[in-house]
């Protein structure tokens, strides 16, 4: 089993691509750090009692800062390492969840639209067209704005993360739907699908058991790329002050806080979370590019 995996084509290509190896390394480092944040971080940035104003504005260790704080502290005395680990945890969680919701919704609608065709297909694709004309960030902003109007302020405050996740998911589903639909059109006329249909299998079974596994390749690529988009979208919304508030900082919120120190000398408060975010997004994008090449042999 293991030797079969090692000798498989994707692994072979992976080991020959320095960019992909580097990207995977960075991604594993960041994601690992985010998952293990409660174990690795020395203080909890959500817990006000775990840090002290006395430690505020410490520069990183190599600039003569306190050795307890590897990358320095912000004005509240939060340890930057802990802040970015917890921030990345939140960013990744929202990014992953919205990507999963978007893919389930998009693939579901795309499969059904491609399989049944006709009026249902026309309606779904019209909605997709309209949404494609609107950039994702505008859609997410609108959904967030509407939810603020509909929900009472206290409820909205409590549902912050859920609203943000849903807003991002609803602005990213179109890609999945279009790709799934296009692939279904190709697969539907193949013999194995025709055979399954003639055998009288339930449409749901045909779609999920027969067609879906055969169109996973392109969907996997979009999942990777959209994970990066979702993380970016969350960071942008939080940076604009529409996303997460300062008491539960994601990477975007940390960058927004850091902007206040742009003009003063405390560069690390801004650049540590910024570089962390860029490293995460670039590595995921490079991996997405690599996957696209693997699943599309014509490009090789």
């Amino acid at each position: 089993m293991l030797t079969r995996l090692i000798q498989s084509e994707p692994v072979y290509l992976f080991l020959r691509s320095p960019a992909a190896i580097l990207a995977a390394f960075v991604a594993i480092l960041v994601i690992g750090g985010a998952v293990l944040a409660p174990l690795l971080a020395q203080s909890d940035p959500y817990d006000l009692s775990s840090f002290s104003l006395m430690d505020g504005l410490q520069p990183p260790v190599w600039q003569g800062g306190d050795p307890r704080f590897l990358l320095g502290t912000d004005d509240q005395g939060r340890d930057m390492v802990s802040a970015i680990l917890y921030g990345a945890r939140l960013s990744l969680m929202i990014g992953l969840m919205s990507m999963v919701i978007a893919s389930v919704l998009g693939v579901g609608l795309g499969l059904a639209a491609g399989y049944f065709g006709g009026r249902f297909d026309a309606i779904v694709m019209r909605i997709a067209d309209v949404q494609l004309a609107l950039p994702a960030i505008l859609t997410a902003l609108l959904i967030d704005g509407i939810s603020r109007g509909v929900l009472p302020p206290e409820v909205h405050q409590d549902l912050r993360v859920a609203v943000l996740t849903l807003a991002i998911a609803l602005s990213l589903w179109v890609n999945f739907a279009r790709t799934a639909r296009a692939s279904v059109f190709v697969e539907r006329n193949k013999d194995y699908v025709q055979a399954a249909m003639i055998m009288g299998q339930h449409p749901l079974r045909v779609m999920l058991r027969h067609i879906l596994p055969n169109i996973m390749g392109p969907l996997l690529v979009i999942m990777t790329v959209d994970l990066a988009s979702a993380i970016l979208l969350e960071a942008t919304l939080s940076f604009l002050g529409i996303g997460l508030p300062a008491d539960s900082p994601s990477l975007g919120t940390l960058i927004r806080i850091g902007m206040q120190f742009l003009l003063s000398g405390e560069w690390w408060i801004l650049w540590v979370p910024t570089l962390f975010l860029v490293a995460l997004v670039v590595s995921i994008n490079v991996l997405g590019d690599f996957l696209r090449d693997v699943f599309n042999p014509r490009l090789r």
Partner: protein
């Protein structure tokens, strides 16, 4: 030709009606307009009277028609937040965003098209590889980070350029422009670059792809065989045939420019539509949100119409088809 224009016009009207409907639904169903306008002490009878006066008890269609009619006459209602007419608020912000967006698009074209042509003609050269690598990184870095980097480099470290606001502005017939003062231009450079970089990479990649496609075609090979000078071959024969898709993408990019101007304006505190939209979301200022949507949709429709007309001007085959 006239028929073509007419058809596009009718389609555009339908798009605008749909958007107006969306804006109206926002206004009518997201939050209660009456409770937005009254305080806690207002009695139930007064509320009911206000509801009746505002016509909120009328049939839905009647309300929508009245809403659309008011809009056509330039009455966009009042902001919940500032109590000012929305038309004034939006109108005073339009010049800033349009100037920023136009300069950003110009940057993306003036740099993007030549860079795309060059990288297509010399795909394996060192310069091309460097340009391509740079754009790959450029696509992956979020807009607001690019803005922060530019501010840090040119505003803070070098101190060459201002980092917020529009600098000096001149009022010309109600249009507040920053294009006629040196200060205005200095303030415009960084935001326009931030907004233009992402569009630039898109333009460049598209021109490159189209150019490579065209260079492989038979008529280019034949033209080469005829001994046509390279300059004429590249720019007259090849580039002019890539223009239709390039113009399409410029039309589509307009949406991106508007959307990302929200981010750019926030980074640079640029007093445009995007900043206003952000504030209206933060304070749940539904009338401003709705009108912003309508105004943006109107620009979209205008640009798309212009693009369609340009097609006909650029591609003679379309004219023939129309005539036939």
């Amino acid at each position: 030709m006239a028929f073509f224009v007419l058809k596009r016009l009718v389609q555009s009207v339908f798009v605008m009606i749909a958007v107006a409907f969306l804006a109206f639904s926002l206004f009518r169903f997201v939050g209660d307009p009456v409770s937005q306008m009254t305080g806690v002490e207002t009695s139930e009878q007064d509320r009911e009277r206000l509801r009746e006066d505002l016509g909120l008890n009328d049939a839905f269609v009647v309300q929508f028609l009245r809403f659309t009619g008011d809009m056509l006459q330039g009455d966009f209602g009042y902001s919940y937040r500032t109590r000012q007419p929305v038309a004034e608020m939006i109108g005073s912000r339009i010049p800033a965003t349009l100037e920023l967006g136009t300069v950003a698009l110009l940057i993306s074209l003036v740099v993007g098209v030549p860079a795309g042509v060059y990288t297509a003609l010399r795909p394996r050269g060192f310069v091309s590889q460097t340009i391509l690598m740079t754009t790959l990184v450029g696509v992956s870095i979020p807009t607001f980070v690019i803005g922060i980097m530019l501010i840090f480099l040119f505003g803070v470290q070098l101190g060459w350029l201002p980092t917020f606001g529009r600098g000096g502005t001149v009022e010309i017939g109600g249009w507040t422009s920053s294009l006629f003062t040196v200060e205005g231009w200095r303030a415009l450079i960084l935001p326009a670059l931030t907004l233009g970089v992402y569009q630039l990479t898109l333009t460049m990649r598209l021109v490159r792809a189209e150019m490579m496609e065209v260079m492989r075609s038979d008529y280019i090979r034949f033209a080469t065989a005829r001994g046509i000078p390279y300059r004429s071959l590249y720019f007259r024969h090849a580039l002019s045939n890539t223009m239709v898709p390039v113009i399409t993408i410029i039309g589509l990019q307009f949406g991106g420019v508007i959307a990302f101007s929200i981010v750019t304006e926030s980074v640079f505190q640029w007093p445009g539509l995007g900043l206003l939209f952000l504030d209206s979301i933060r304070f749940v200022d539904i009338p401003v949100m709705g009108v912003y949507l309508v105004v943006i949709a109107f620009f979209f429709v205008l640009v798309n119409m212009a693009v369609d007309l340009l097609y006909v001007a650029i591609d003679p085959r379309l004219r023939v088809r129309e005539a036939a």
